[in-house]
């Protein structure tokens, strides 16, 4: 139990390392968009770490960044085409932030610092660790932001073409909440700051 908590919150790439914030701040207006973004990043992270680890002996140190970028962008393009084909609303909702996964620091960071030096299985394990950390962080943040910002929890709406269900929970709708501020980008920054603050307080600060 302690181990799970540690790897989810003490080594979390978003809350502790403060990496990959672009998508965390931009697409989290609904819970659904948040967790699908998390899953997409997880898939790309695992695949890219696997490929990078497989070809680590053929890649020179000098040219490794272009090579990794090509690998990651290929994967992202594949996912992009698949999403466009099978879940158009989600593809539209992500907009520019889907191609921007290419420059997500978590993916490139794991490729550079771990997968390029280790064997395949440890690399996949590492990818799952970081990816699930990111998935938990972005889902949690999206959940908070949607509950406070629009008073709903959207579990399935845009992806209902795939699953066949629509599932939206109404939490509250009074004059205090929902508060539009949290849907705006400024509110996203404030909320993320508070969330990081609370989690760091539980982790015991910087001592």
């Amino acid at each position: 139990m302690r181990k799970i908590y540690d790897f989810l919150f003490k080594e979390n790439p978003v809350f502790v390392l403060v990496l990959g914030l672009c998508s965390v701040l931009a697409v989290t207006t609904t819970f659904e968009k948040s967790y699908t973004m998390g899953i997409v990043v997880l898939i790309i992270l695992v695949l890219s770490n696997t490929i990078v680890s497989l070809i680590r002996k053929f890649v020179n140190t000098e040219i490794r960044i272009p090579v990794y970028i090509i690998i990651i962008s290929t994967l992202v393009t594949i996912i992009e085409i698949l999403l466009n084909k099978y879940s158009k609303p989600l593809y539209d909702a992500f907009g520019i932030y889907l191609p921007l996964i290419v420059v997500n620091c978590i993916i490139l960071g794991r490729a550079l610092s771990f997968a390029s030096k280790n064997k395949v299985l440890p690399s996949i394990k590492d990818a799952f660790k970081s990816g699930i950390g990111y998935l938990v962080a972005i889902s949690l943040f999206g959940l908070f932001r949607e509950v406070l910002g629009s008073g709903k929890i959207t579990i399935m709406n845009d992806i209902s073409i795939l699953t066949g269900y629509r599932f939206i929970i109404d939490v509250f709708n009074n004059e205090v909440l929902p508060n539009k501020l949290f849907l705006s980008s400024g509110g996203a920054f404030i909320l993320l700051g508070l969330l990081i603050g609370v989690i760091n307080a539980f982790n015991g600060g910087d001592e």
Partner: protein, 480 residues
Amino acid sequence: MKFKVENGPHVKSEETTSKIMTRFLISLTPIVCFAIFKNCLLNYYYSSVTFIEAIHPMLMIISAVLTSFISELLYFKFILKDTWENSFYEINRSFTIIPGLLLALVLPPNTPIWLVIFGAFISNILGKMLFGGFGQNIFNPALLGYLFISVSYSSLMGSPLNAYEIDTLAGATPLSNLSNLNYYGTYEEVVGSFGTFLNFFVGTIPGTLGETSKMLIIISFIYLIATKTIKWRIPVMYILTAFIMTLIIGHNIELGIWYALFSILSGGLLFGAVFMATDPVTSPITPIGQTFYGISLGILTIVLRFLTPYPEGVMTSILFMNMLVPLFDKIGLYFKENIKKIWILIILFIALIILSVTTISNNIKNLNNENASNPLDNKVKIVKKEKKDNETIYSVTSKAWGIIKADVKVVDGKIENISITDSSGETQWNEIEKNDYINKIIERQDDIDNVDAISGSTYTSDGLKNIVKKIIESELEDEG
């Protein structure tokens, strides 16, 4: 022989923060009294409000001050885990009630109490304590709280008019009245509907709680300067810049000196300049930095007032400039050493003033020329028109905040349905949906001029109303 070793600073002044803040509170006292006199006593005397409604403004001030006090006390006790005695001691040193008091004074008199409490809580905890307490905050805490509640609950903030003012004054505050007139009007239109300049000076015009009485603010300002509590450069340069800019604007659009006087006497300009911009924690310390800080505040306020749909602009510009305080301190230090180079800075700021003044004057002229011809032609355009028997379908675009695109179905000369195809440019669209505004304007299409706009999304409402007006006009042309 014994040596005494101490850390600096070694020069001790009689001016402690406690004395400064006490004087600050003393200077605010007459303003609070006048706010209570104007919004409680006069309101109770002239209109038929109940006792509770009449003392509402007083309750606002009390609840804001109490919330500030209690939230900070609890923060010291439970988050920082001090003892009770220590917490009370810390609170005495951190002047906890000032953000709450200032916040209550910049709010309109009809703001709900819970909103005031929320704002005061945000001011003290988010704006002050989370930054590290008194002396550490980057932004003015009261303004941060104001920003929070005005951004999120603008529709609940309530009108700035008291009950007795609503009966006599058709418009809103002087500044929103000016903004509705497209910044151009005769003396009677702009000033006359609120009385004379004496009313502006004494403070019997609608506005937020603390900002109305310019006379008391000036007296407080003189007291604060005489006791060397605040820095005179910031407010003086701020108001002077605003005055000169509006004077030139007034000259360009052929209005007299009263236009500039009106500009500085209306709204929260004086209050913000004296009590908000001079906050010792969030303003520059170098004299040159202070001077140019004041000038920038003036430019920014006038630009915000005349070029954006928000009629006030003082609070926003102070918050924005708070961010640049370290920069202005650096500028001040640099030019203190290189005083000969200061003409660079002066030319730069004069160029900024000329640029913004010409932009604003041209904008006012364009706005009013548009109105002279048919204003609707510029705002609403019919893209497509399909006729079938007695049914016509129009595709229109209308200029609001952004561009609204809509398909309108007309049967027998009556609008039956408006389906919006694009409203992505509107930031306050959910207010429209919440109020079911589209059905409202369809119902009352014959009487469209008397449909009220939704407060908080006036531009969008006007954009929708213009669509209806344009379609009716076009239908009338077809018949005739």
